[in-house]
């Protein structure tokens, strides 16, 4: 269907800037105008890339869980503390969870829900490992922590793509 979302956003932005912004006289009105412009720029960047970024991010986290499972499997065998085992168990469940019916279209809302659940799991595992650092062999802990930090860095780099072009501007 045309115009596309991106084309509509570009038109809204141009019209707003050309016809509405010059008439904004109060400081609060001008501030609101600036925020609207910043968010329209943000949406213009985001609309095409968000779905793919979420898919990549979700896949990256699942891959992390597989990696951690491999690094940390001895902890299951050795009967490490129940909290660690429970956290790793939750991680494995989330790695296998199906968030959509097979063959259904991965809409942004569904991908976002999946993304947040997977991130919650990353936070959970990181916190539990931190809290029980003393129970984990040092080399194993450092490998796991490095893998998690590398994934966090990649996640921020992905988001940076559509935050940075816009957020250099004053947002209010």
């Amino acid at each position: 269907m045309r115009p596309s979302v991106k084309q509509l956003i570009a038109g809204i932005r141009w019209s707003f800037k050309t016809y509405a912004v010059p008439d904004l006289s109060s400081r609060l009105g001008q501030s609101t105008g600036r925020s609207i412009m910043v968010l329209l720029d943000h949406l213009h960047e985001r609309v095409e890339v968000e779905g793919q970024l979420l898919m990549d991010d979700n896949e990256d986290m699942r891959s992390l869980f597989e990696t951690l499972s491999n690094f940390l499997s001895p902890l299951f065998e050795q009967g490490a503390g129940t909290e660690i085992q429970a956290a790793l168990g939750r991680m494995r469940e989330k790695a296998e969870k199906q968030f959509r019916a097979v063959g259904s279209y991965p809409g942004v809302d569904s991908l976002t829900e999946e993304n947040e659940e997977l991130k919650r799991t990353v936070v959970d595992v990181f916190r539990v490992l931190q809290q029980h650092k003393g129970s984990v062999p040092e080399e194993m802990y450092l490998k796991a922590e490095r893998a998690m930090r590398d994934q966090m860095r990649r996640q921020l780099d992905r988001e940076h793509q559509w935050i940075e072009p816009v957020m250099g501007k004053r947002p209010y």
Binding site: M148, R149, L156, V166, M167, P171, Y172
Partner: protein, 336 residues
């Protein structure tokens, strides 16, 4: 706020029959809370009188600062009688008949002056800016040397669970970090794994000792104070005040751009001379990260309100994404 409601309220408080609101203006930008400047005229003891007031209240959806409005009022009350320059506070209003659009508010004295620093970035005004930097340092010295026990700040702990009193100087940074970690996990609208890592860094680097248990202004900035020329006539914005390490206030000031007035190390040197308090550079480096974390947390609280539809100001939507730039600064400083 409706002018008729202001008129009725101030008529009641001032016992005036003929009160007229002559000016009513909302302060810009007012992201965390609404601040309204109100000028009135009325007759007092047969004489025409003019007065100015400031009304402070949460935005309709609540405040992005995850501490109650009354907290700031209680801080102001306890600063009375000290040599910290502040506006006087008059009333905190909870009576349902007086609420403004259903919101509690407090009223304080209106002090004439400006928040903005003139000619920032213009080297022709460097001497003036250095005077202002020293003034800011001297006023902060007064804040940090308040006898908080004598002024009743210990009683705040009976009113607010968030008001923590360190047992000694080794607890200042740790207690506040624990509080704000809890607040962060309560207000975040989505998980932030990178911030969880940053919190682990903060715990590891948390200062073990502070130069005394001091009254910390919080969100300290050159543009949070009311200036007349190069003199601060009233210090404003006490929403994040707490007991802790004064290095935190210098981290806030640095983050908010005080280095534009004068080099930060020179400002702190001057502060140390007038206050007698030494700012540990290691503590300052820690707090440079910690204040970014606090600011991020407040903006995420705002984002949460925006997402829930409780506060649809687009500024909150935009600031939610600005907070990501704070997160990026944090991960850089903590070497994620």
């Amino acid at each position: 706020m409706k002018q008729e409601d202001i008129t009725k309220y101030l008529s009641y408080r001032l016992e005036a029959n003929d009160l007229l609101v002559t000016e009513q203006q909302r302060v810009f930008p007012g992201i965390s809370r609404e601040t309204w400047l109100v000028d009135v005229e009325f007759e007092q003891d047969g004489q025409p009188t003019k007065r100015g007031f400031v009304f402070r209240l949460d935005t309709p959806g609540g405040s992005i600062v995850p501490l109650p409005l009354s907290y700031e009022y209680e801080v102001y009350k306890r600063l009375r009688g000290t040599d910290v320059r502040i506006a006087d506070v008059y009333w905190y209003e909870r009576e349902s008949q007086w609420l403004m659009d259903g919101r509690e508010f407090y009223v304080r004295e209106k002090v004439d002056g400006v928040l903005d620093i003139p000619h920032l970035g213009d080297p022709a005004y460097r001497d003036m800016h250095i005077i202002m930097a020293k003034e800011h340092a001297e006023q902060m010295a007064k804040v940090h040397t308040v006898d908080w026990r004598e002024q009743g700040f210990g009683e705040m702990a009976d009113l607010y669970p968030e008001w923590l009193i360190p047992g000694d100087e080794t607890e200042c940074a740790r207690l506040d970090l624990e509080l704000w970690e809890q607040i962060f996990y309560e207000v975040q609208p989505e998980p932030y794994p990178a911030m969880t890592y940053a919190l682990s860094w903060l715990k590891e680097k948390c200062p073990q000792r502070s130069p005394g248990i001091r009254l910390v202004k919080g969100n300290n900035a050159m543009t949070e104070e009311i200036w007349q020329g190069t003199r601060i006539v009233a210090m404003s914005d006490w929403e994040l005040t707490h007991l802790g390490d004064p290095a935190e206030d210098w981290a806030w000031a640095a983050q908010q751009g005080i280095g534009q007035l004068w080099e930060l190390d020179k400002i702190i040197d001057h502060y140390q001379q007038v206050s007698g308090i030494q700012i540990d550079p290691g503590n300052l480096a820690y707090f440079r990260v910690f204040v970014l974390f606090k600011a991020f947390t407040c903006l995420q609280a705002g984002s949460r309100m925006f997402i829930a539809g409780n506060d649809r100001r687009v500024q909150l939507g935009a600031l939610a994404f600005l907070s990501h730039t704070f997160l990026e600064q944090i991960v850089k400083l903590t070497e994620l």
